[in-house]
Symmetry: C2
Subunit: 218 residues, 2 copies
């Protein structure tokens, strides 16, 4: 697919839009950033993209599916940011802390976006979870898991004993910590921490967990 399509100079003023699917996702992202929630209507998204209120249904089965696509894109950019953040870092313990800080910052800087990623579809009680979304979420998690695996195999985290089961649990704990921290910070439940103290607090929290991983097994 994506063979070389004829690049018509004709701008998308025609009846057909060109790449409406992407436009809709971008419009949704705009609204999300402006209103800091996803209560905007599908019709409003369509208006932004200058199409009729029913055009979106050619690309998304319903509003949920559009939100799911937005959420998936969020997980992917989050993954990329974490990857970039640890490009030069060798020590797994340092990398883990760094990743946590970047993760939390992403959430705090895009609160509504971050909440949407987890809140709009994943936990909405729908048994039907779009494949793309779950994949994207796993891709983000795999950054954490990868670091912990390296730490386990290089004996930086001796408590894990290089045991896949323990590694899995530790990764889950790490994700839990950063995810929970981010959520609480966004929700304004992180005590009276001033805005710029979040980074330090996140770093401290991550270090506490890493200290636990460095220790011997219980």
């Amino acid at each position: 697919m994506t063979a070389t399509k004829k690049r018509r100079r004709e701008p998308p003023r025609s009846y057909h839009h060109g790449d409406l699917r992407r436009s809709l996702i971008e419009a949704a992202l705009e609204l999300l950033a402006e209103e800091q929630n996803w209560t905007f209507s599908l019709r409003e998204v369509a208006r932004r993209a200058r199409v009729s209120h029913n055009a979106p249904y050619n690309h998304f089965a319903d509003k949920q599916q559009l939100l799911a696509a937005v959420a998936a894109s969020g997980f992917l950019t989050l993954r990329d940011r974490m990857r970039k953040a640890i490009e030069g870092v060798d020590r797994p313990d340092a990398a883990l802390v760094k990743t946590g800080v970047v993760y939390v910052r992403f959430g705090i800087e895009n609160p509504a976006f971050y909440k949407l990623m987890f809140g709009s579809v994943l936990g909405s009680g729908e048994a039907e979870r779009p494949e793309d979304l779950v994949e994207a979420a796993d891709a983000a998690k795999s950054v954490l898991t990868g670091i912990i695996e390296r730490g386990a195999s290089s004996a930086v985290f001796p408590g894990l004993r290089n045991d896949p089961k323990r590694i899995q649990l530790a990764s889950l704990a790490a994700w839990s910590l950063v995810h929970g921290f981010t959520m609480l910070a966004i929700d304004g439940l992180a005590d009276g921490l001033p805005r710029r103290a979040f980074n330090a607090a996140a770093e401290q929290a991550a270090k506490t967990l890493v200290a636990g991983l460095k220790g011997s097994p219980e």
Copy 2:
């Protein structure tokens, strides 16, 4: 002439309801449990309580306020469960682990309820957060904080040095861990852990953090 009053009859179901406010909250809880989300309409809640679609507005400014009341009640029962769980436990480290497990279990057993507590109002981008709700959330958190304070003053968590600032951060980290773990578990992102493994996993995660707290300061 038309306004003839027949007030000799007095069934318990009079024009006024009695305690509609509570009934509405209970109806909302029912719907929440049944549908596992809070997309139900305010009118549906009113129907459950057998009142007109406008009666709720005498007790709640809007739908959000009703959900906020439901959320607040959730935080209070969560607090109670945690308190009860550690009634006989003396050692702060054991109490902390126990509390975490109970916390996670509450969330997993009432997934939609738990998500509502954090998702419907707190993080909805509204600057206006009902006082009751924030208070109730703090009350739940205070159980964790209380344990960590005891651990700090009794030198079970020497890393904290009995320093209020460090205690605050550690409490936040603890809450982050259990909150994040619960959310991920609810969202089905906790790997392929079988349902009954959650307890063990939660316990392990909590222990890892506690191990970090027990260690010396960095």
